[in-house]
Amino acid sequence: MTMVQNKIEYNHILVRFGELSTKGKNKKDFIKRLLVNVKNALRAYPHLTYERTHDRLYILLHGEDADKVAEILSHVFGISSFSFAIRVDSNIEHIKEMSLRIAKQADAKTFKIDTKRSDKRFPMISDEINRAVAGPILKQTDLKVDVKHPDLKIQIEIHEQDTYLMTGRIGGAGGYPIGVGGKALIMLSGGIDSPVAAYLTMKRGVAIECIHYASPPYTSDRAKEKVLELARLVSRYQGHVRVHIVPFTELQLAIYQNCDESYAITIMRRMMVRIAQRLSEQIHALAIVNGESIGQVASQTLESMLCINDVTCMPVIRPVCTMDKLEIIQLAKQIGTYETSILPFEDCCTIFTPQNPVTKPSIAKAVKMEQRFDYESLLTSCVDQIEHIDIYPNKEQDENEDLF
């Protein structure tokens, strides 16, 4: 949260929409989607009710904990900011009285009243309201007016019947509501980069599902559990995420047996993209997303990307492509995935590490090596045997819950 809030019986949260205000005729769809996403995110709070106006969303708390609701809201994309609000009747005496109470409880030396009069039939103009409300505060407290840098800013929004009083503004997650931009499939590896890529994709309003390649026994159950935990962490932004686990061992062994060691990773990545494309077709995903960053490892040079990308005509989006490792780490820490990502379990990419992986693979060579074995049937069997797991933000309770 970015601002200190004074808590006095806030009964509302006022939500301001993000970038979507600029989106012309799609706006309606955006707002609709945002409302659905907010309701989904807050489904654990059944007493909340929602009111929508053309540019605002009001969440009526009905006694639910404002801070807990705010914590969840701060993860919902499409919200530029929100404020705790108190609703009073649109009556100048009630407005004055509540403003005074807010001022008395605030730990501030200076203040400012900022009124917006949406209902132009209200008998006073904004400036008159400002002065009328400031009067009792100046008389009954030690607060002074400072219009430039007030410690306490009381915002008053007057509507036809109701008036909202707010004192602070909490930054939202920004971006577009998830779902307005279609769906993408994220290649979630278990490293630091791919959860960040997932986050950035969702932020642009794209819903995600995840694909993970497991090669037991070369990769352990712990590695898979780690990926599911990362999926859980990123699922907070869209309320749920589906993870597709691809049994990759046989195909990987076939690569190992048939291809040159230096090309093993290149060809493995080409197979991964092929599988991702086939799964995307099944689940109607419009793009493949991964956590590649230019030059980070041998398979992430531009030459490698060209060679790997060659197997698909779907867009392969690489949100962290141009970021430095440190920038990625910083974002990973911010979204809370870093600590899990650095747990030391093998993932698909770190097994079979050849001594000298090729950094400038050629498409022709890769194709030639792939012709040495029947990868088509192996791909089909991979896709057929995918395990689908639904992950929710709350850790599931297990049978041993009674022990704790």
């Binding site: 026994p217 352990s220 030391p344 093998e346 770190t350």
Partner: protein
Amino acid sequence: MIYLDYASTTPIRKEILDAYQKVLRVYYGNADSLHQIGRESQKLMEKSRAQIAQLFSVSASEIFFTSCASESNSWAIKGFALANMYRGKHIITTCVEHSSVLHACDQLEKHFGFEVTYLPITKEGIVNIETLKQAFRKDTILVSVMAVNNETGALNPIEECAKMIHEQTRAVFHVDAVQAVGKINIPYEQIDMVTVSAHKIYGCKGSAILYKKDNLSLLPLINGGQQESGIRGGTSNAPVNIVFAKTLRLALEEQGNTYAHVKQLNDTLRQAFREMDDVTINSPNDALPHILNVSFLHVGSEIMLNALNERGICVSAQSTCSSHKKAHSYVLSAMGLGDVISTHAIRISLSYLTTMEEIQALIKACKEINHDYGTK
């Protein structure tokens, strides 16, 4: 599930669990309290101590309850060294001890100015008596040698060591007998300090003892009240201490019956592994039969572990990989077995509970995995 990791820990014996539950329910008092219910706990705990002493043929005042074998080892080494440093600051141990011994020695070296000689081991994984003899110095105050190596089951010549140490030096002799108790006889009367753990012999977790001769002084590691003769503070974990005696008694009673059974299982395994290509048996021929260490030269430790786990078979690997860098088994490396063997080893540990069917299932699984996942 086929559990073949008994050297890590064992399931609790039903008789012990029943006794433990009864004690928890009925005798919940603090053994230091002066009221009736506390005194009852105290009495039972002292009865347990006396019975343990009797089983070891030592005196009750020489048995100390601790929270785990690592505590017993740390205490024996650091507690003794710090209390006796005026006599000398040289310690001898082996390079394949449990980490609690090695790290305690390391701490004494780094922070308290001690010198530690880490004895090499033979290719059979044991201490050579001559090497030990050569390491003696005038200021040697302590020698610590494990009875049975936890990775390989190699049996150290404890009696010979004890004899040599006591004949030639004034040093005291500590033995980590965690893997040995209930499997082979330990000559307690010839040793000055011995570590024994309950959960390796079908008892409770969080329960161990240190046997220490009366005349030795130890500095406490845990300061507190008058518990354990005032040298190991903290509220007594009376329930686990009370059932330790029964745990030990049952383990010793069954030692004779179960050894032959385990030996037969071990022989079957060795025979099968000898017939397989590219498998080495790392445990020496005369090792304790309860532990068998083998390397599948084309399947890394962790991969073997994962693959067996997938088939419902639990074994352990000392060398589990963390990304990129492969961890070695320091024990196998010390035996001079080389990189490949020490990164491809697994430890199978057996019990009287293990059946021949389980062993056959393990052999079958190993063959399949070796065939399916072996990479040169």
